[in-house]
Symmetry: C2
Subunit: 359 residues, 2 copies
Amino acid sequence: MRVAVLGVGLIGGSIGLAVRARLEGAVVTGYDPDLELLERAVELGAVDSTAGSVEGAVAEAELVFCAAPVAALPVVAREALEAAGEEAAVTDVGSVKAETVEALGDDPRFIGGHPVAGAETAGVEHARADLFDGARWYLTPTARTGGLLYDRVQRAVSEMGARPQAIDAGDHDQLMALISHLPHVLADLLVAQASQGLGDGERLPEVGPSFRDATRVAGANPAIWADIFAANSEAVADQVEAAAERLGEVAALLRAGDREGIAAWHLRASEQRRALLEADLAGGPLHELRVAVPNRPGIVAEIALELGRAGVNIEDMGLYPAADMRSGAVSLYVAGDEEAERAADLVRKLGHDVTTVER
Amino acid sequence: MRVAVLGVGLIGGSIGLAVRARLEGAVVTGYDPDLELLERAVELGAVDSTAGSVEGAVAEAELVFCAAPVAALPVVAREALEAAGEEAAVTDVGSVKAETVEALGDDPRFIGGHPVAGAETAGVEHARADLFDGARWYLTPTARTGGLLYDRVQRAVSEMGARPQAIDAGDHDQLMALISHLPHVLADLLVAQASQGLGDGERLPEVGPSFRDATRVAGANPAIWADIFAANSEAVADQVEAAAERLGEVAALLRAGDREGIAAWHLRASEQRRALLEADLAGGPLHELRVAVPNRPGIVAEIALELGRAGVNIEDMGLYPAADMRSGAVSLYVAGDEEAERAADLVRKLGHDVTTVER
């Protein structure tokens, strides 16, 4: 199969590597307006050959991956469709879909795609053949999409290690707005409100890890996120307005002194979070082991090593330095009741104090 | 000095231990309605002796710490003031202050307090003499507070290792509403909205760590948080309504297709967060090192150990298992440009791919 990859950054480069490693007999032609990047892609083995234009890359291709930045995707995909043959399948990798699909959806050869993988900032030097292993790869066919072409994309993605799933482009964007874009907006909001509330340039008083955790993605990758917000503005606005309405309801409960209502709302959140994240927890319910430790190099290693030796898998970890930077806490998240108890015992034997909470 | 501690859980027990270890000549009398707990406190050395009632505990005390749960604090503090001598200072440890201070503020012997330390769920068995080392300890004197008594509390807290800071009770509650209670409300909101949007009982599709990070405290410690929300309901409602208003503004920017406005808002958030959290970053700007790793026991240890050996301090860490649970990513947060570069090199030498992003 002849495959074209338009744009050879992290995602395009990884597509090239995965196709070459896993699709028998596939040959990859790469194109990128950045010639240095293209050269790197050749050196890394991400493409077999290069082309000097979109047309040159897709002329003979049966399968075309458009892997440009979100804002450029509709244009690149349009160019690819114009130059590609009647029997070519053209797909993209944008994390927002409706706009592109609407622009190109009347062409039966276009199938929108979104691999949920990769740190979006990284360059081709981080491309890996196994980047998509086990990753969800959304595909957004329309009523006009050619069945054979869809099957070709779906099969290729699957052979590259990903788990393809068909979804309506609009549904996809609402889903992303809900579970990815809204959390980013709320993180931004929290820092904006805290910054204004405290006075510009003020430092945050020490109040435990909730603020840090909640705002970790605040202002993340500005170039990429401005594009994502812009491309998915209506769906994000829907979710943002729904959130504002919910906040209004919470404020009303608080003003009314409805302690039971607030307590019920808060309690439900812990059950809902558990249900939502269950997929992460193959081993059983998640426990947080909070370990008080001196804040010095090596301490995390000591604990992690001990658990590793005993075969305990740490699902997640957070470090919370105390204000004096000499002491702190390590939170270890371990799945399964027995596993958590065993882990707590091991850490206690190292001489640390451990508090366990079910999450 | 004769000190009384009313309530000997994690905080009360740690106060007893810290007072006995660090206040020369201090003698601690403990009281708790839970006799088993009181006995444990004696065994752990958190108190010198016990009393059978609040009256018995405070009769001779010069300094009284009320360390009951938030909801019970006003009552316990009132009892303590009634039984205590004219020259006794009475303080508490509640994380919400205005209500209690208003109820007791006309008594010059009462000084509200809030040590920012301790996992609130834990029991006396986790009490430690060094729990307050370097921790902020808010004190909320009023115009009626006796100067000598305030000085006594402030000195004791300081000798116990904490960093006392005077603040108006109302300001304190607004501050906590902003930087601690609002993040909890937003975490609850996110899971509620996602849960409803996806359909009850649905699992979250895989979309990277933003949702996990943003909702880590959703539904945290329901019993304690219902009390906190109730005790600080007006201030939290203020912040929640302000957040709703901000969200309305963001939605308007999105609906208007104001890409520049959105981009500027998002970009500002990263600068604001850096300024807010600067105190955490003694070593320079924070870098995230994203490391692609197989998801198996021991891998975190291997990396942490290598960095520990080289004297690199890990400020924070997050583990992000991929959907297949066989691979994943580890995010290491390291302060300082050079330190981050050194850390990245070390991890690369272990054979892992590393992407570095400044946070």
